[in-house]
């Protein structure tokens, strides 16, 4: 069958995915991307040539057996396809939506060398959604109980993946979540129109099916420390996320109407402020909103502002279009929704009146010599200051390490930014039995990288708990001070 497929002429372009009309979607929180129909999924799956040396899987931080699942799609065995993905990924409907596949699996796709790569993410989403709509959830296999216990700090992508893997290996897992619902950034950070919360809830419910105990409202570092957890559990994995919002340190940043992206998104996503007053949490939007930053979170914020009713929602980013760190797809969607981009522009102060934001003063930038990140450094153009009248400013310029866990844990090595030092391959920290992964180690990254870190740590925690021999690995001390 594979031979036959190779001989067939490949369609150069991937099957387009239906999307909500940009004009309509700007005023609702429904999902932008509607997902493939069965016909479209089959059409796209046919573009996979089942190559002899598949590269795609090397690009997947959790090692999804991509070729195998796509072959099952080709055979219309959708249940088989989703079961195959779930062998390595507990969050397929999430990953199919928010993974930067263009930088991972799809970047390495052999078809992509000549044509557009196979739309792996869209196919992953299709089978995950298919199962939710049609299938009977296949019960995951759980190994015989080992009698060992593991505490997981945080129920975001890193914690959920580690919890799922460890539970399947037969360990008794308890997850401690600070907020009132599990999901971490999937819940409070990524908007409904990109990742419906019902999907997050359903995928996280799989953890409960595996026998994982999730304790909400449990702020580790406050309600209990990691040291106390180590008394009750055989191992601890810290996946608490980055979480401390950065501000620029410019005048006027504490005026009413200035939000961190975390607050703006948390009010909207977790607290459902878009449905105020049915939900109690309010949010200020105003007619004109400036979002400072150019990452995925900035795109999420600016598109959220639009949906909350802003007449004009503006990205203010200090570098040019080429340096925008957000996924191309998100930038494209933002353009389609008529988001205004003020590029090569940096805020100098927030101007207020009676305690409220009235405008943001910016300066135009030009690109100079490359900086440490290899990107050309933006330099202010003297005398180019100008004002953009706005009612709300959202600062989306990254996050720092939340100190609650690091500072309340004894003898835990931190790097100079306050992130936990952990081995990249094993998640081991300077404390025996204490592991860490995700943004609390790397700083702000992606869902799938955090999942990958959770997976790797789970593997090593298993070895540690079962007293299996150690593979040759670098120690945490050797990787110290890496960002």
């Amino acid at each position: 069958m594979a031979e036959e497929r190779k001989r067939r002429k490949l369609i150069p372009n991937r099957t387009p995915i239906p999307e909500q009309d940009p004009k309509k979607r700007g005023s609702n929180f429904k999902e932008v991307s509607l997902g493939y129909t069965t016909e479209q999924a089959l059409e796209e799956a046919e573009r996979c040539i089942r190559c002899a040396k598949p590269q795609c899987v090397k690009g997947c931080p959790v090692g999804v057996q991509i070729g195998d699942f796509i072959e099952l799609v080709q055979e219309k065995n959708f249940q088989g396809a989703i079961d195959k993905i779930k062998e390595t990924n507990i969050l397929p409907a999430v990953c199919g939506r928010v993974c930067p596949q263009e930088d991972q699996c799809e970047k390495l796709c052999v078809v992509g060398k000549k044509f557009e790569p196979v739309a792996i993410g869209r196919l992953e989403r299709f089978v995950a959604d298919w199962e939710r709509d049609h299938g009977q959830k296949t019960k995951p296999k759980v190994a015989k109980s080992t009698g060992k216990t593991v505490a997981i700090v945080g129920s975001g992508p890193a914690g959920v993946t580690a919890a799922s893997d460890l539970a399947q290996m037969g360990h008794k897992v308890t997850v401690f979540e600070a907020l009132h619902e599990p999901g971490g950034v999937l819940l409070y950070g990524i908007p409904e129109f990109r990742l419906p919360k019902s999907i997050v809830a359903e995928e996280i419910a799989c953890l409960t099916d595996l026998g994982v105990d999730i304790q909400t409202n449990a702020v580790v570092g406050k309600l209990m420390t990691v040291d106390e957890l180590m008394e009750d559990f055989d191992a601890v994995f810290i996946g608490s996320g980055a979480g401390l919002p950065n501000f620029m340190g410019i005048d006027g940043e504490n005026l009413n109407g200035v939000y961190s992206a975390n607050e703006f998104l948390t009010r909207t996503n977790l607290m459902k402020a878009y449905d105020f007053p049915k939900f109690d949490t309010p949010i200020k939007v105003g007619d004109r909103v400036a979002v400072v930053g150019g990452g995925n979170v900035a795109m999420d914020s600016v598109r959220t502002a639009l949906r909350l009713g802003a007449e004009e929602a503006i990205i203010v980013y200090r570098r040019s279009d080429a340096e925008l760190p957000a996924r191309a797809e998100e930038v494209h969607h933002a353009h389609e929704e008529a988001i205004r981009f003020e590029l090569l522009t940096s805020p100098t102060k927030v101007i207020g009146e009676d305690g409220w934001v009235k405008a943001i003063e910016c300066v135009r930038m030009e690109l100079g010599e490359p900086d440490d990140s290899g990107r050309r450094r933006p330099v202010p153009i003297k005398g180019s200051e100008f004002q953009i009248p706005v009612n709300v400013v959202v600062m989306s310029i990254g996050t720092g390490a939340n100190p609650l866990v690091p500072q309340s844990t004894k003898n835990l090595d931190l790097n100079k930014w306050g992130y936990i030092v952990a081995d990249e391959e094993t998640g081991r920290t300077s404390r025996e039995g204490v592991y860490a992964g995700g943004d609390i180690v790397t700083g702000s990254a992606t869902v799938i990288l955090a999942m990958g870190a959770g997976r790797k740590a789970a593997g090593d925690i298993h070895r540690y708990l079962m007293g299996e021999p150690e593979p040759e690995v670098e120690t945490a001390a050797e990787v110290k001070n890496q960002p």
Partner: protein, 286 residues
Amino acid sequence: MKSDLTKILETKLIREPDVFYFKLDAPAIARKAKPGQFVIIRLNEQGERIPLSLADINPDEGTISLIVMAVGKTTAEFVELKTGDEISDVCGPLGQPTHIEKLGKVIVSGGGFGVAPLFPIARAFKAAGNEVVCVMGARSADLLIYEDEMQTVCDRVLVTTDDGSKGTKGVVTVALEEELKKGDTDLVICVGPAIMMKFVAFTTKNYNVKTMVSLNPIMVDGSGMCGACRVSVGGETKFACTDGPEFDGHQVDWDLLMSRQQMYLSEEKESFEAWKARHAHLLETS
């Protein structure tokens, strides 16, 4: 999935018509909580997250206590809860505890229902061997709360009322100043409305007495993630939820605090009015 509801063990009307005492079954929080800390509660699935100071902590009993005054929709809903009812979410303890040590003489000063969180703080200072004086004020005698409770943990309790219906006539700073004049005060701790804390801090500054105030800005997560609770102390932006809630009162930018507290005034009013309208309807039909 939700299994961690928190049960109300006791309710008590503290002051007519709208200030209530609640004792909650929260053994894990009670075990860890220290005076000066707070919890964030969310009453139900549609609820907002609001911070409430701990009015008492009983680790042996596994309980924490809160004093709630119905000032908006959430607190109005809260005070309607009865013994045996359950709260969807109680998260804590949050914030830094009050730094308790033996100093000599400590004044705890509070206004309105802000007196309640001073109770565990005063008790801890007393237990540490300090002379503890409570200076509490209200507009009139019938609005005073927790006077008897404070008597049990303080050496002296000084009361002021604006209308002179009890104790010294005037605002709390009048009695506070009399006490400061003695020159033997080592520390003032103040909890209450921002405007009152501001004037207490102004007063103590003249006497050069260290003053810690418990700030009450708007919060969402309460664990340092959102930054809603930014306050300016000594010209630096701090997060009240993780750096505070107690700060040096002489360094606080009070105008900023009060301005930020007003951020959602119109929405809070809208939400409260809508609730009252619905509520009146419910009461009629019940």
